[in-house]
Amino acid sequence: MINNIASSEIGGIRKNWLIWWTLGNQDIKLKYRRSTLGPFWITLSTAISIYSMGFLYGHLFKANLALYFPHLAAGIIGWAYISSLLEESGRVFIESQSYITNQESMLSMFIMRMLLRNLIIFCHNLAAFIPIAFIFKTGLSLKMLMIFPGLMIIGINTLFWGTILGLIATRYRDFQQILSSILRVMFFLTPIMWMPSLLPSQYQWIALYNPLNQFLNLIRSPMLNESISSLNLIIVMLITALGFVLYNITLRKHKHKLVFWI
């Protein structure tokens, strides 16, 4: 089932952990090196956008703010994480050109670096959500701990799907543009700015069969102190399994060609 290339790639995550850990942290550190607030700019700019959007759209939709505001805020924070993982997957190998063309490298190392820097950004964004949780009293419970397995599943999928997307996007340079435009549309098709309950029952499939929504729920539900539904988990698991199979196939067939595509 699992071939040599894929298993050495996955094993490389543990073997090379110090490298991607250092590089991923450095990415954030370097980006904010000479600013006073440093990475807390991430928190601040997210806070500004979710508070103003929450206020505006809450009144536009005449929604119940106690329900709508936390839903929107958690949705935007989760979406920012998932969409930037997808978008950066397309660039990840092109960015790592200086490593790939100079030594034999594990692709998983670059994916993990990208995942780590996005996780750091996500954690800073999470800080912007804390006041909302208190203002709108979403409550505290053990259900919130489900965010850890949720993030784990997203991490695993980043490894699988990120590598696949990265390889495709390196081969076909148009793919990155396609990916960005799809993501832009998906932002509106995914229940972030609107509540899924607003959809008429015959259109509920829009939210259900949207894989990005399913992954988003892994983050959003625990943030809102709701439990993750079992249907949600099943769909996510199926996507993960498919990703694993394709990950094996693409690596075996195309990993050695990557260096020529860059």
Binding site: T101, V259, W261
Partner: protein, 250 residues
């Protein structure tokens, strides 16, 4: 015991004709049942043809050849960056390669940070990385530039930094492409001295260069490449004479 063995190694480059867009690929895919000949195809280019090479511990091999002869391709095959299309390659020993200046350099990070990055990338620990800093400070003579981002360095300075890091821990196998030429005369001499000094620790070195002095001074074996094939291999002086006669004569 480190060694390199190549048997009948061939390497084809994939050359993409124009931009390989999704549109073209789709068109090719849809036309496949109708047309025998695909409208867009990637051509390949034979970069290395039937290379047989055996390098043993203690060898310091110089690669010479005109531009495009396959020197860099051969080095990258040895470094396992390119996977050969056919033939066998057997490399024993850990490899360190110096192919171009921005080898894993983070341009935004400082010299000191890059020392740590590169050492980690080569599989050394952080404390080992910190332990070579005095050596690098002394060898590169970069002084306070080591605290500045690498993007502010000149190419000679970058060269010094990369070279000194990669040679701080003598690897078993060292592969160097024509980059030392970037440094000034003083640095070239210094780096040659350094290479000679650690030749005892380093089991095996393969060096591609256009500098005959370097070959004469440093190598004990020379391989002449032309159009992806080995046309001569042996002692440095006869190899240089052969190369000059065959390929340099106007």
């Amino acid at each position: 015991m480190s060694s390199i063995e190549l048997h009948n190694v061939c390497l084809d480059y994939i050359i993409q004709n124009g931009t390989p867009s999704i549109k073209q690929t789709l068109a090719k895919f849809l036309q496949a049942p109708l047309k025998k000949e695909p409208s867009v195809h990637n051509s390949t280019f034979r970069a290395l043809n039937n290379i047989n090479l055996s390098i043993k511990k203690g060898d310091r091999v110089g690669l010479i050849g005109s531009n495009g002869a396959g020197k860099s391709s051969l080095l990258r095959v040895l470094a396992k960056i390119y996977q050969p299309n056919s033939g066998n390659i057997e490399v024993n020993g850990n490899i360190s390669s110096l192919f171009n200046l921005n080898v894993g350099m983070n341009q935004e990070a400082t010299g000191y940070e890059n020392i740590v990055n590169l050492c980690l990338l080569k599989g050394f620990s952080k404390s080992q990385a910190l332990s070579i800093i005095p050596d690098i400070e002394e060898f590169t003579e970069l002084g306070k530039f080591l605290n500045a981002p690498v993007r502010t360095y000149s190419s000679g300075m970058q060269m010094k930094l990369v070279f000194s890091i990669l040679t701080a821990f003598p690897p078993e196998i060292l592969l160097i492409d024509e980059v030392i030429g970037v440094g000034d005369a003083r640095f070239r001499q210094k780096s040659l001295d350094r290479l000679i000094k650690f030749a005892d620790h380093c089991h095996l070195i393969v060096l591609a260069t256009h500098s005959n002095e370097m070959i004469k001074e440093y190598c004990n074996k020379v391989v002449v490449l032309n159009k992806g094939e080995i046309v001569f291999s042996g002692e440095p002086q006869p190899a240089i004479d052969f190369y000059n006669q065959k390929f340099v004569v106007c």
